[in-house]
Symmetry: C2
Subunit: 313 residues, 2 copies
């Protein structure tokens, strides 16, 4: 969105996250322009890594870089303990300012990275294709892996509870990269920790448990917890929901790339997804993963309009 780029041209990404006035401004502008039914705070799943002292910075166009990756017990010992209230208070402030600006028109979603996904960045030192360092640590040094995950559980619980106290109406746990694992590895190395996060959250706020490439992990992701389970576009929504049962809602599952198709094709895909949801309550229409740069804004507006129009049937 041009409105976003204007703000972004004047401020670094981290600065925008750390300035509640800017974070609230871009969030509310997007919700208003797109006519979305919910807002999500402007933040990043890696923000907790800044006070942890691993040297996180964002390189132009290349995504996050961590100068001092965590690949051993000794590296892990150097991680600073953090308190979200002290070092991530600006996210709480963003939530308060955004809530005030939304004035009850839509709910506001807070979020955090799940322990596995945070660990993958910490270990790889940034994004990854094969998660070789992450899996190698997991397989060869399970004790350090467990200790790292327990550290990240604490950080994530503290951070999300701070967001809930600040007024988040819903929280979303992003396990964006967990789909690189097979079911056995997920069950052994990830599930207990994601479950520990979700169990420790303050009650009364729904939890969306998000992942991508989780078509073969869905039952395990649901076992870890969450009121709503994220579905990417690789699954048929109806079949996935049947596997998960009716005790959970689902969120998804349009391919973000479909937004580059013409509007008639977009509308046809909306109809297919809504048909699969079959009017059943508990479906949050969303993309299966984050929106891509250069997505035409008018296509996103057409998408939201189509969902509103076809959901009314």
């Amino acid at each position: 969105m041009a409105e976003y780029r204007q703000v972004r041209d004047r401020h670094s990404f981290l600065e925008m996250c750390q300035r509640p006035d800017l974070a609230a401004e871009v969030t509310v502008t997007a919700v208003n322009r797109l006519n979305a039914d919910a807002a999500i705070i402007f933040a990043d799943i890696l923000l907790p890594l800044v006070p942890m002292g691993v040297g996180l910075h964002y390189e132009k166009g290349d995504g996050p870089v961590i100068d001092r990756p965590v690949r051993s017990a000794a590296d892990l010992n150097r991680i600073a303990p953090i308190s979200a209230a002290e070092s991530l208070g600006f996210v709480g402030e963003s939530i308060k300012l955004t809530k005030a600006a939304l004035a009850g028109r839509t709910p506001l979603i807070g979020f955090a990275g799940a322990p596995f996904t945070l660990a993958s960045y910490l270990i790889e030192g940034g994004g990854s294709r094969h998660y070789r360092a992450t899996k190698t640590l997991m397989y060869n040094d399970p004790e350090t892996w467990e200790r790292l995950m327990r550290t990240l559980v604490q950080v994530t619980v503290d951070y999300l509870n701070m967001q809930i106290i600040s007024g988040a109406d819903v929280v979303q746990l992003f396990d964006s990269w967990v789909g690189c694992l097979g079911p056995d590895d997920y069950r052994r190395f990830v599930l207990p920790h994601s479950a520990a996060v979700i169990r420790a959250l303050r009650p009364g706020v729904p939890v969306i448990h998000f992942g991508t490439d989780t078509g073969t992990l869905l039952e395990l992701v649901a076992e870890a917890g969450g009121d709503v389970i994220g579905l990417d576009w690789r699954v048929n929504l109806g079949e996935a929901w049947a596997r998960l049962g009716d005790k959970v809602g689902v969120q998804g599952n349009l391919d973000p790339v479909a937004l580059f198709a013409n509007i008639s094709e977009i509308r046809s895909r909306v109809r297919t997804i809504l048909d699969q949801a079959a009017g059943r309550p508990g479906h949050i229409f969303n993309l299966g993963h984050g929106i891509l740069p250069e997505t035409p804004v008018d296509h996103v507006i057409a998408l939201v309009d189509a969902v509103h129009e076809m959901s009314k049937r």
Copy 2:
């Protein structure tokens, strides 16, 4: 392998593919050193794109680059029609030389890229993360997509049949990137074309139909055809095979990254996979995707030994 790097230091990757003596040498050296039960020709799925005249070259460390991507009907019209016998005859020669050197000790696998995966390279101009150009063409210009796929079906059939005539004992169709699609897109845009390739192959040679990230597509991949279906590490082999039924074999499904684990962990993972196969005939033990650079050779040897030892039980 040091033996491979020595040859590779003196020749470009394309040159190695195009020189049957070198291709045979590195193949046979690897089979002998690893004690594998089958050999696969040294080649690349993109070789047919060279005579098609799209300007394929391999950049140091960055993978394949296509100078003139195919993104419109006009681009497609510029593609040169090819005959595998004329322009890819060196692969047939590689098969004959490799077969002679193997002297019947192991079967030799030929291979080609499946139409979707080839199309994705042609359209993106190289590797991709989101397949945005590929999907956009597919969604917005389905006629050009169909025409491109029909072209690639012809090329692939001609190329694989040439390999079969040259003596390949098995052929493998690599649809490496098809897992970026949801089931509806696979059924509509890919399945008929992969099926057309497999149907048109000369009889008498088993076909391995390989893909990754296909956990939610497996039934459709099998519907497209193949005597053996590839399974990556995201699926439980036993469950996947139960879904596919006993009319097909399966190949897989060790995570290539598991080869960076210690040997005891590797052996434990071999046992898990073999237990899932439960002694049932028709399982080809393999990695779930290609081997990664820097994989310790002694770990690969230990893997092959473990499979041999535990399969004898």
